[in-house]
């Protein structure tokens, strides 16, 4: 039943509900595929075969007994390893948390359990979600199923590669500056960063508290909509969570028409600095929307020039504070130097050994940004740039219902290509960062392959805060148009993983 793993989540849900397939069979099919390909793709840091099958069996038994079940019951899912799970280690991609089994479930995971979805395992990420390529994971990078020598994006490269390699039908990711959207863009999948506060952050190992958000990762827009409807909602444990729900994303994803929808092309996120093939697919998508009746306008967001700078001050500052708790005392790694070290020495030695270089770099930068004397010029100024960015968005949304840009300037680059220059790595996020700074939702969906390298290109839509539904609406419509044009889906073009893995193994053996 290998075709099972290629089916979309919504199809699988229908098959589960009709009894055409059991959850155990479905879960086992994914586990088999994971066993075969994960050693190379490295999407999963931990596979929870036993507990996933146990949940699947429970669902099958209840279904057989005619009990009423939640909508997505029995549908397997992968979860990014920065969300706590009581039955699997949660490492956040770091050595400092190697083997740590949390004493509580994150709210999102609790909701997945309540929905009775078998959790296949925890997926790889850049250490503490700091990165755009998953190269900074302490457990090795994940590989892009389109080309195993290339990055699957980051920080959520594990979830995106899992979904793109059919090692899970859908997954949970987190996005602080593009960590769901950029991986989606370079792997030909769909990813959403919901409005800040739409999904609970309780149990999400914090990177930048005012920027982080949990969201869905899938192969098509409808699947993500189904998932967001399960995981979103107010949580009393998260004081920043929105008090009200945002309505049904599933309904929004079923809308089929964009006549009169005003689509604003962001002047600053186009043209120079964007790979030609990326720009070309983007322009074609805009044309397709226009042909479908959307109104295309240009919007000017001058403060975006400062977005990266503001982001790379706010993020390290908040992260440096959030990561202070990793000190060997209550959980995680402890390194005790020789002699009779004081606790201060133990803390410093533990953090030296447990944190990777990118994490250390950002902690030190963040400590600087918050230090007295530097605060006003750095963290303080960055928080003001946020205000400017929000104002630019507010102005843009007066003339547009959604905004649009390529998700990223390039397609997937090769491993090691951007490691020497931290600034170069940071530029991947130029289009995605503004949404996190402003708290507004964004989606990335695939719009084809770039001609130069035959690698996936993603388009990003942004909507005003709380208007996540607009993203599912326009995303689903564009997806429909493109799939009709191509006569197939994006993933139908994905290279055969068997041959890629074979070639990869051969080259590794050299």
């Amino acid at each position: 039943m290998t075709n099972l793993t290629r089916k979309n989540a919504s199809e699988l849900v229908a098959m589960l509900q009709s009894g055409e397939v059991t959850s155990v069979a479905l879960t086992q099919a994914f586990l088999d595929r994971i066993a075969k390909y994960n050693p190379v793709v490295n999407s999963y840091l931990h596979v929870s075969a036993e507990s996933a099958l146990a949940t699947a069996a429970e669902v099958d038994a209840k279904r057989a007994a005619g009990e009423k079940l939640p909508a997505l019951a029995g549908l397997p899912i992968a979860v990014k390893d920065n969300l706590t799970t009581t039955d699997a280690p949660t490492t956040s991609g770091s050595k400092i948390l190697e083997g740590w089994v949390p004493q509580y479930d994150s709210t999102v995971v609790a909701k997945l359990r309540a929905e009775m979805m078998p959790i296949l395992g925890k997926t790889n990420l850049d250490e503490f979600a700091m990165g755009s390529s998953t190269e900074y994971s302490a457990y090795g990078p994940s590989r892009n199923p389109w080309d195993l020598d290339r990055i699957p994006g980051g920080s959520g490269g594990g979830s995106s590669s899992a979904v793109a390699a059919f090692l899970a039908p859908i997954a949970i990711g987190s996005d602080t500056g593009g960590s769901i959207r950029f991986p989606a863009s370079v792997t030909g999948t769909v990813g959403i960063k919901p409005t800040y506060g739409a999904v609970s952050r309780y149990g999400l190992i914090a990177l930048a508290s005012s920027l982080d958000q949990v969201g869905p990762v899938s192969r098509n827009v409808l699947d993500s909509a189904l998932l967001q409807d399960v995981i979103a909602g107010h949580d009393a444990h998260d004081s920043t969570s929105l008090p009200e729900g945002l309505g049904s994303m599933t309904e929004a994803a079923k809308r089929s028409d964009v006549k009169g929808l005003r689509v604003g092309v962001i002047k600053q996120l186009s043209g120079a600095g964007f790979q030609a093939g990326v720009q070309k697919r983007f322009d074609e998508s805009i044309a397709a929307l226009k042909a479908a009746g959307a109104e295309i306008v240009e919007v000017d967001c001058p403060s975006f020039e400062y977005a990266i700078a503001a982001y790379y001050l706010i993020l390290p500052a908040e992260a440096s504070s959030n990561l202070a708790k990793f000190d060997s005392v209550r959980f995680g790694m402890r390194v005790t130097p020789d002699g009779n070290p004081t606790i201060e020495r133990v803390m410093a030695a533990t953090r030296e050994a447990g944190f990777g270089p990118e994490v250390k770099r950002r902690i030190i930068l963040g400590t600087y940004a918050l230090s007295s004397g530097a605060y006003d010029n750095f963290y303080g100024a960055a928080q003001k740039v946020r205000t400017l960015i929000q104002r630019d968005f507010a102005k843009a949304f007066e003339v547009a219902d959604v905004l649009v840009s390529p998700t990223a300037p390039t397609t997937a680059f090769k491993f090691g290509e951007k490691n020497d220059d931290p600034l170069a790595m940071y530029l991947n996020d130029i289009a995605t960062i503004p949404a996190n700074l402003a708290g507004i939702p964004g989606i990335s969906l695939p719009i084809g392959l770039a001609e130069e390298d035959n690698l996936p290109v993603g388009i990003q839509f942004l909507a005003p805060a709380r208007e996540d539904a607009r993203l599912y609406h326009v995303g689903a419509v564009l997806e429909g148009i493109l799939e009709a044009q191509w006569g197939k889906t994006m993933m139908d073009d994905a290279p055969d993983l068997d041959s890629l893995v074979g070639a990869f193994a051969a080259s590794e053996g050299k």
């Binding site: 030190i364 400017l388 931290p422």
Partner: protein, 98 residues
């Protein structure tokens, strides 16, 4: 000319309780210098009147009722600890009285 110096990097690493090797100090000094130079431009972008935004979605007055909720058991609380004794987390001697 960046204000990031090796001494500053060591000081910051100390504040952040991370041991750093000499190599790291050198590397961080250079890399952070680059980053700081590039982000220093934002000060120019914001004139005095712009207020800071610390919460992207404005909200206020989110409270919890003063009602006791279940706690972890002692065993659960200590389950992640590298070392514990007598129901408490055990750490190496502390240098300074806070």
């Amino acid at each position: 000319m960046s204000e990031i110096t090796p001494d500053l990097v060591r000081h910051l690493a100390g504040l952040a309780r991370i041991d750093v090797t000499n190599d790291e100090v050198e590397r961080f000094t250079q890399q952070l210098g680059l980053i700081v130079d590039s982000v220093a431009t934002i000060k120019a972008a914001v004139s005095g009147d712009v207020p800071a935004t610390s919460h992207p979605i404005p909200m206020a007055n989110v409270f919890r009722e003063d009602v006791v909720q279940p706690s972890l058991t002692q065993e659960q609380a200590l389950s992640g600890a590298a070392d514990s004794s007598d129901g408490r987390f055990r750490v190496a001697a502390i240098l300074d009285e806070e």
